[in-house]
């Protein structure tokens, strides 16, 4: 029976693991994982574990209610642009950051800041999030 890549990603997150794929042809990382290398389309890929460490480059928020009901209990939240130490860019919820203009101005001035993954649960699904180290 084939195993869903998407299911595997979220099950790995539940175990606090960030797993992507690395391409043997172009040497680039696909994270989160897809069926083929997202950069060159090669199928010659291997499992690749990411450290979960990186830098928060920017962080903002949304004034609107979250469109996806999964986040009704979590919202409002800060949402940031992160460069993982493997060179992969992701956007995710940033735990512990206030969304008032004063807090966001403070982070705007202080960024880039070291962050580490801080997996949270949203309606039964483990999802990628970060916290400032």
């Amino acid at each position: 029976m084939p195993k869903s890549i998407i299911r595997g990603y979220y099950e790995d997150l539940e175990q606090k693991k960030l797993n992507g794929k690395k391409c043997r042809k172009c040497d680039k990382i696909t994270f989160p994982p897809t069926a083929m290398c997202e950069h060159c389309g090669s199928r010659d890929v291997e499992a690749f574990k990411l450290s979960g460490e990186g830098e928060l480059l920017y962080v903002s928020h949304s004034m609107a209610p979250p469109p996806n009901p999964r986040f009704n209990k979590l919202a409002p939240y800060a949402y940031g642009h992160v460069r993982l130490e493997e060179g992969v860019y992701v956007q995710a919820i940033i735990n512990g950051v206030g969304i008032d203009p004063e807090s966001l101005m403070e982070y705007y001035q202080k960024c880039p800041l070291k962050v580490v993954t801080d997996i949270i649960e949203a309606e039964g699904l483990s999802i990628l999030a970060f916290k400032v180290k």
């Binding site: 897809t34 903002s60 928020h61 004034m63 642009h81 460069r83 705007y108 999802i127 990628l128």
Partner: protein, 425 residues
Amino acid sequence: MKNKLKEPVYILGVGCTRFGNLLETPEIKGLTLQEMAAEAVKEALDDSGTDPSEIDAIFVGNVTMHTSTLPATYSQIAKWTGMQFKAGVHIDGACSTTNIGITLGAMGIASGVYRKVLVVGLESTLSQPKKLSPYDRETIPTEEMWLWTDYCVNQAYSVPQGYDIFPTYNGIIAQAYCKKYGISIEEFEKGMFELCRTRRLHGSMNKKAIIQETLEDEAKRLGFDDPYEFWISNYNPFLAWPSRLRSAVSAADGASAIVISSEEGIEDAPNLPIEVKGWGVTISDLPWYEEDPTYMHYDTLSFEKAYDMADITSEQIDYLHVHDCSHISSICTAELSGYLPKGEGLKYAEAGRLRFDGDRPMSTHGGRHAFGHAWAASAGADTYEAVKQMRGLCGDRQIKKAPKISVIHTHGYAMVSTVMVYGRR
């Protein structure tokens, strides 16, 4: 990629309804989507002097089928517009849909298969059918509309993990722009105020815009003598810090239509045909940017392809519209296109240079904020404005010297970056 048209293709006529709310706006109130689309088609057929029998194919677009309940637009809009038994298909390139339709139709014409093609876009973002009624509609909550619209975004990983368009497409880009060019947040606020003021001025001069009130008049109506005090008040909260609510899209209902033709179809055209000189289309899933959120690589590729096919340079552009759901993103795109110098966009806005009477006119219909945004119909509305400007028919907001080259850029969620180059003969 050869990136050349074998034969020239022309826009013969354009149509566009007023953008507004099907439940409130007088010009479209009470219409169904079939009827609203037919209004735009009738205008385009009249504008082009085309009888429905001359149309060989129709490309009809719609994004949120939850509000239209029309996934098979091809047959249903054909029946409502006298286009039965043509070739046709439903298309969806999100907010680029109608211009994607022009590229598909143009390829059909340039290849010698079709002579004339009709492109239609229709959308309701504000209401859905009431219960099972074929004509009554009811308001939908804003978050529900975004939930459906976000079906266009990465459903495997981004949406389930907290993706939100406002920080991704507004706040983060705004912060990056300020840092990159050494602009203070206060300077950014003033620049965005002026940019909104320009768009609202254009909307106030356009009877088809969803918002026809200037920013100054709105401020006065709400008790502010100084419109900038209004800008930084709680009436205009941070949508995604440091971007405010009035620097973003106004969701709307609307329809647009375009008739395109081979060269042999333009001889009897009642109005000036506009040449489709070239285009560039590039897709990208998230992330839309990497280290520098002001730079979207796929837009670079789209502009390069379009300029190459049209054989123009950015110096030749007389009129530009870029996708402006997010005003700061639109400034980044306009700078990327070469129409504005890097890091100068907000200064140009403050100096009034982006107004219809400025030396770098942009979005003279009012853009996504003042004209409004009806997803699949909007790219056609942008093309509608470009055609009218090039024909010199925009009345009070007419660019003094009618543009010879117009460029229209759209971001179809998420993303299909589309750049169209139109030329006046």
